[in-house]
């Protein structure tokens, strides 16, 4: 973490508030704090906010608020961050069917780690993963904190199509594909829920600084949830994170 936050210029209509140079939960917590604080303060002239691993991109309308003024406003807000009450991050449950057609690479992850299927599933689903940021595609979460025992290199040849909802491992990271796309991740499971739904408000239910928790489900439960989602009556499980879980 920098001892002094950097305010970088990104052209005539944006500033980057940069808290550090590495990937760490502490730095990301500052990003989330600043993001929520700006949103809460409803500052005039703000066009959009993009929170990432270690910085927050603030796009603004310079015809409403010019550079110097925006800089000072943000610095002032940052100064009052410590005193602000911010909402607790949420945990969102991701019901996941591991293995089989949904997770064709689960056996490879077992071989690579020397663990049984049950052990891999248990390890993967026992943690709440911090969402460092969303990017690359709508709702694509960059997650942190996977157990090193199940780390597995990417596929040598990427697949041309990965189904939406696929849960995978790439090196030290785990992740989930909100939309069908090509990719080289080792696929270990799949969720029937819609991470991204342009017709839903909001289209994406989790934010930077929230957590995802994978919950193993049976094939039968997967089918039931899939049906509920299709009928629009699935209840997404989203709740405030409990303290000192990790």
């Amino acid at each position: 973490m920098y001892s002094q936050t950097k305010y970088l210029i990104a052209g005539d209509s944006a500033l980057v508030v940069e808290f550090g140079n590495e990937i760490s939960p502490q730095i990301n917590e500052r990003v989330r704090g600043m993001y929520l604080a700006i949103e809460k303060a409803a500052l005039p002239g703000i066009v959009s906010l993009t929170p990432t691993y270690r910085s927050l991109l603030v796009q603004y309308d310079p015809l409403t608020v010019p550079y110097r003024e925006m800089l000072q406003t943000l610095q002032k807000l940052e100064g009052s961050l410590e005193k602000m009450e911010l909402p607790k991050p949420n945990v969102m449950e991701i019901p996941t069917l591991y293995g089989g057609d949904c997770g064709p690479d689960l056996d490879f992850v077992c071989q690579h780690s020397g663990l049984s299927r049950d052990e891999v599933i248990q390890i993967h689903s026992s943690r709440e993963y911090l969402i460092y940021m969303l990017g690359f595609a709508p709702g694509f979460p960059y997650l942190g904190g996977m157990d090193e025992r199940i780390a597995t290199p990417r596929l040598k040849t990427p697949r041309t199509k990965i189904n939406s909802g696929s849960v995978g491992i790439a090196g030290q990271q785990t992740g989930i594909y909100p939309l069908a796309s090509p990719g080289g991740w080792q696929l270990i499971g799949r969720t029937p829920i819609l991470l991204y739904d342009p017709q839903r408000n909001p289209p994406i239910l989790y934010r930077t600084g929230d957590y995802l928790k994978f919950v193993p489900v049976s094939e039968k439960e997967y089918g039931e949830i899939e049906q509920q989602v299709a009928q629009g009556r699935y209840q997404y499980r989203l709740y405030p994170k409990k303290e000192a879980k990790e």
Binding site: L8, I9, A10, G11, D12, S13, A14, V16, E18, N21, E22, I23, Y35, V47, S48, L49, T50, P51, T52, Y53, R54, S55, L56, L57, Q59, P62, L63, P66, Y67, M133, L134, G135, F136, A137, P138, G139, F140, Y142, L179, Y196, P198, P202, P203, I204, R207, T208
Partner: protein, 317 residues
């Protein structure tokens, strides 16, 4: 029904407005028009709000058949529009009737043309915008580029049926040698002095690898102090990203929301329309300006549009 039918779609014709800014935090790209000057001017010629959605047409124009009478205007790249095979002027309101066909003879300069419709396009507003997000297959007309036999709904023409012609001085030219003003940063400190000097003092060429996502340029290598990778952060339109090859890429409307390469500078908003109209082979020089100067240029950009609106002259239909 107020609508326009696609007889042939052209190379890449999409519905775009000023962009979708509300969901960057969720990884949803901005999209929107590439050339915001031509976009806004087209709307002014049909008495629409400047930010109303238009059709963005790329290199090769579509053939459109009107199923109602309305007013349209074509701006941007010089694509030689025709109505029922008779040449019609660009940068001027064109009254069209039911059954009329709009087509294009071929491109003589620039890259993208804009067709505005009086009253606007009647496509759903998704997440605050009518823009097409091609990658997420969302927004615009069914989340995709137009294809043959599409029937694109139009709003009923609004306002008085005034016909306008733009004053010559506010019609942009599309030179094959351009200067883009840019503000250094956000990562200029990760480049060598020589790298920054190359960027500011030598000429770069637009390569054929240019599209709505970005423009890949080719020229003197821009050298890094210690590598091109950073911890991913947010990206704005006009960001000049330099991967390890040292060859810059200017990110445009369909860029991803975040990226992991160093960005040496950001092209000023006011100059992005010039780049949006650049074809492969266009020569680019960069000129450094301060953030205050860049914001003054944006101010002048909007003043130009006001002057455009003020000096357009009425024409007889």
């Amino acid at each position: 029904m107020n609508a326009v039918k696609v007889i042939s779609p052209g190379a890449l014709t999409t519905v775009q407005d000023a962009g979708r800014f509300g969901f960057l935090q969720s990884g949803i790209s901005v999209s929107g028009v590439m050339d915001s000057y031509s976009h806004r001017a087209a709307n002014l010629l049909v008495d629409n709000p400047q930010e109303e959605a238009v059709l963005e047409v790329t290199l090769m124009g579509p053939v459109l058949e009107f199923q109602c009478s309305t007013r349209i205007a074509v701006t941007g790249a010089m694509m030689q529009p025709k109505l029922n095979d008779q040449p019609v002027p660009m940068w001027q309101t064109i009254p069209v009737g039911e059954g009329d066909r709009l087509s294009f003879s071929g491109i003589q300069g620039g890259c993208r043309a804009y067709i505005a419709f009086a009253g606007g396009l009647d496509v759903p507003v998704i997440m605050g915008s009518k823009s097409t997000n091609l990658k997420a297959q969302m927004g615009g007309f069914e989340g995709r580029m137009l294809k043959r036999d599409d029937v694109v709904p139009l709003k009923a023409p609004s306002g008085e049926a005034k016909l306008w012609a733009a004053s010559e001085e506010w019609i942009p030219k599309f030179p094959t040698q351009i200067t883009l003003r840019a503000v250094l940063g956000p990562q200029e400190d990760l480049f060598t002095e020589e790298g920054i000097a190359s960027f500011l003092n030598t000429e770069y060429l637009v390569t054929p690898a240019n599209d709505r996502m970005g423009y890949r340029l080719e020229g003197e290598e821009i050298t890094h102090k210690a590598g091109a990778d950073i911890v991913s952060d947010g990206i704005v339109m006009g960001a000049v990203q330099v991967p390890s090859s040292g060859q810059p890429i200017i990110l445009m409307a369909d860029r991803q929301t975040t990226g992991g390469y160093t960005k040496i500078a950001t092209v000023v908003t006011a100059d992005l329309p010039l780049l949006a109209q650049a074809q492969a082979g266009t020569k680019i020089r960069f000129e450094r300006v301060s953030v205050e100067e860049a914001q003054q240029l944006l101010h002048e950009f909007h003043e130009r549009l006001q002057a455009f609106a003020r000096t357009r002259r009425p024409v007889n239909g």
